[in-house]
Symmetry: C2
DNA sequence: TTGAAAGCGCTAACAT
DNA sequence: ATGTTAGCGCTTTCAA
C-alpha cells in the first residue's frame, strides 16, 4: 500500500468541492488547459497547493493509457553493468531524461527468472510501461525481436544487427573513427593499425569502416594492420601483440578499454607512446580508463544518448528516423600531436 | 502510449465472454481465489493462455491501491553510485527482490531538479510508488524525514542517525568488527589500530564499538590506536600514517576501501603485511578492492540486504522490527593467520 | 460456485 | 467558460 491507511487521499472531486467548481474544471487546471477563467484557476490552484493534492496516477494511467514509466532493459546481471563505464554514463543520461520529462525510470531484467518461453519479463509484457530502452549488443537481438512482436514502444541505443525498422539513437562511429585516424595520418603516421572488436559488434564494424575511409582517403595500406579480438583490455592486448609484426607506427583502438590493452602490449614490447607508436582510442567515458600518457580519443556523448533516448520515448509512438549524435576528438598525449591543429583539442561538455 | 494503437487490448470482460463466464470469475482465477470450480478455472486459464491476456495494471492499481512499483532513492548522481561497489551489490539485491516479488524496480533521484521546497521528487510525492528504499548516509536524513512526514512506506538500509522509528535492514557491524579484531588478537596481535570513518557515519561508529568490545574483552589498550578519517582510500591512507606513531602490529580497517589506503601507507613506510602489521577489513564486496596480499575481511551480505529490504516492502505496511543480517569472517593472507582455526575461513554464499 | 452491480479517481466528450 | 456524464478495466461486495 502506498501510505498508512489512515491518510485517506483527496480526490479531484473533493478539490472541486473545496474550490467551488466541478471536477472537470479541476481536471482542466491540472492539465493546463487554458479555457479556464483566471480567477477560477487561481482558486483551484490555491486549494491544490494548500491541500498538497496530487492526482492519482493509477486513475490517470487507466484513462490516458500512459503510465509515465519508462524502462531500461538490462541484458545481464544488474551489477555487472554497474561496473561498466558505458552503462554508467548511459543510465545517468536516462535518469536525466526521465527527470526532464517527469517520467519514472525503471530497470528491467531482460528475461523472467523462471525461464519463461517468452523472452520478456512479465512486467514489460504486462505493459505497465510506456516504453523501454534497449542497447544493441549481440545478446539483445531476441529481446528486441520479442519487444517488436509485442508492439512495445522502444528505442534502441546503438545499431542492431538486423535492419528491421526501429527508432534508435546512435553516435557517429564511422565519422569519429575517420577523424581519429585522419588525425594520426595528418601528424605523420604512415602505418596505422586497427585494434577493434570482432564483427558481431556492430559499432566495431562501423568504427572499422571509418578507419578504412581515412586510410583510403590518404591512400595508405592496411595490409596486416587490422586485428580484431574481444572488446576488452585483454582483447586489445592480444590484438596488439599480433599487430606488432606489421610494424605499426600508430594504433587506432576502437574502444578505450582496448586501448588500455594496447598500452600494456606496447609498453611490454619496449615501444614508447607516442614516440614509437602513437595511440588513439574511442569512447572518452567519464569513468573510463585513465591512461598514461593521457589517451587521445574520440569522445562519444553517452549521457546525451541516454537523454535523447528518453526524449524519443516521451515524444511519440511510431518508428522514427535514427538520431545520430556527433563525436568529438579530444587530444591527449598519446597521439604525439603536441600542437594539435586549432579547434581540434576542444572537447565539448558531454 | 504503451503500444501501437492498432492493438486494442483484451479486457477481463472479453476473456470472460470467450470462456463463457462472467468477469468476476475471471478475476477470481486471476487472483488465485479458490472458490472456482476446477473445470471452469481450467477453461478460463486456457483462454488467458491462448490470448496472451494480461490484466491492465493501471486498473488494478486504481482499485487495489498498489502499483507494484518500488523505488530506490538515489542520493547523488546515478553514475557516481554506479561506480560504488556497495551500491552495485545493493542494487543487485534489490533487483533480485523485485523479480521474486513481481515488483518493478524504479530509481528516483532524491530531490526534484527544480529545487522544490519539498525534498522529494514529484514521482515519489505523487505516491505512484508502493514503497521506497533509502540508504542511511548523512545526506539522507532530510529525505527520510520528508518521507516520514508524507507517511510513505519505506525501508532504510543501515542505521539513520536519529532514532525515529523506521523499518530498517542492517548488518551486524558491531559483532562483525568484534570478530575481526578478536581474530587478530587470537593470532597474537597486541596493538591493534582502528582506521575508520568519522563519526557522522553511523556504521563506522557501530564498527568502532565492536573494536572496543574486542579490545576490552582481551584487556588490551587502545591508546593512540584509533584514527578516523573519510571512508575513502585516501582517508585510510592518512589515518594509517597518523596511526604509525603508536606502533601498531595490526590494523583493523572499518571498510575495505580504507584498507586499501592502509596497505599503501604501510607499504610506503616499509611495513610488510602481515609480517610486521596484520590487516583486516570490513565489507567483502564482490566489486570491492582486490588487494595483495589477499585481504582478510568481514563480509557483509549486501545483496541479501537489498533482497530483504524489498521483501519488507512487499510484505506489509507499518514500522517493523529491524532486520539485522549476519556477517562472516573471510580469512585471506593479510591477517597472518595462515592456519585459521577451523570454521573461520568459510565465507557463506552471499 | 457464480453473476450483477457498484465504484476506484480520473479524462474527455458533450451539453449548456 | 463550466458542469454533466460516460466510461477506462479492474476488484469486490452482495445476491442468487
Amino acid at each position: 500500500m502506498n501510505e498508512s491507511d489512515d491518510t485517506p487521499h483527496l480526490t479531484i472531486e473533493q478539490i472541486g468541492r473545496r474550490a467551488g467548481v466541478s471536477r472537470s474544471t479541476v481536471s482542466r487546471v491540472l492539465n493546463g488547459q487554458r479555457d479556464v477563467r483566471a480567477d477560477v484557476r487561481a482558486r483551484v490552484e490555491a486549494v491544490i497547493q494548500e491541500t498538497g493534492y496530487h492526482p492519482n496516477p493509477a486513475a490517470r494511467a487507466l484513462v490516458s493509457k500512459r503510465s509515465g514509466l519508462i524502462g531500461l532493459v538490462m541484458l545481464s546481471e544488474v551489477d555487472e553493468l554497474f561496473g561498466d563505464p558505458y552503462y554508467s554514463a548511459l543510465v545517468n543520461g536516462i535518469q536525466q531524461g526521465c527527470a526532464e520529462n517527469d517520467l519514472i525510470f525503471a530497470i528491467f531484467p531482460a528475461s523472467s527468472p523462471d525461464g519463461h518461453s517468452d523472452a520478456l519479463t512479465p512486467q514489460i509484457a504486462q505493459r505497465f510501461v510506456d516504453g523501454v530502452i534497449v542497447t544493441a549488443v549481440p545478446q539483445s537481438a531476441h529481446v528486441i525481436a520479442a519487444l517488436r512482436a509485442r508492439r512495445k514502444h522502444m528505442v534502441v541505443v546503438g545499431h542492431p544487427d538486423d535492419d528491421a525498422p526501429v527508432t534508435r539513437v546512435d553516435v557517429e562511429n564511422r565519422e569519429g573513427s575517420a577523424v581519429a585516424v585522419t588525425h594520426l595520418i595528418r601528424h605523420g603516421r604512415q602505418r596505422v593499425g586497427f585494434v577493434g572488436p570482432t564483427v558481431e559488434y556492430r559499432f566495431g564494424v562501423d568504427r572499422f569502416d571509418g578507419y578504412r575511409d581515412a586510410l583510403a582517403a590518404a591512400e595508405l595500406p592496411e595490409d596486416g594492420l587490422v586485428h580484431l579480438d574481444q572488446p576488452t583490455t585483454e582483447g586489445g592486448y592480444r590484438a596488439t601483440i599480433a599487430l606488432l609484426a606489421a610494424h605499426p607506427d600508430a594504433v587506432y583502438a576502437a574502444t578505450d578499454t582496448m586501448a588500455e590493452g594496447v598500452y600494456r602490449a606496447l609498453t611490454e614490447h619496449g615501444r614508447r607512446i607516442p614516440d614509437d607508436v602513437a595511440v588513439v582510442g574511442f569512447d572518452g567515458l567519464p569513468r573510463g580508463p585513465r591512461l598514461d600518457p593521457v589517451l587521445t580519443t574520440i569522445v562519444q556523448p553517452v549521457v546525451e544518448v541516454g537523454r535523447t533516448a528518453v526524449g524519443l520515448l516521451a515524444s511519440g509512438d511510431g518508428v522514427r528516423d535514427p538520431v545520430v549524435l556527433p563525436t568529438v576528438l579530444r587530444v591527449g598525449r598519446s597521439c604525439g600531436a603536441n600542437h594539435p591543429p586549432a579547434g581540434e583539442n576542444e572537447a565539448h561538455e558531454l
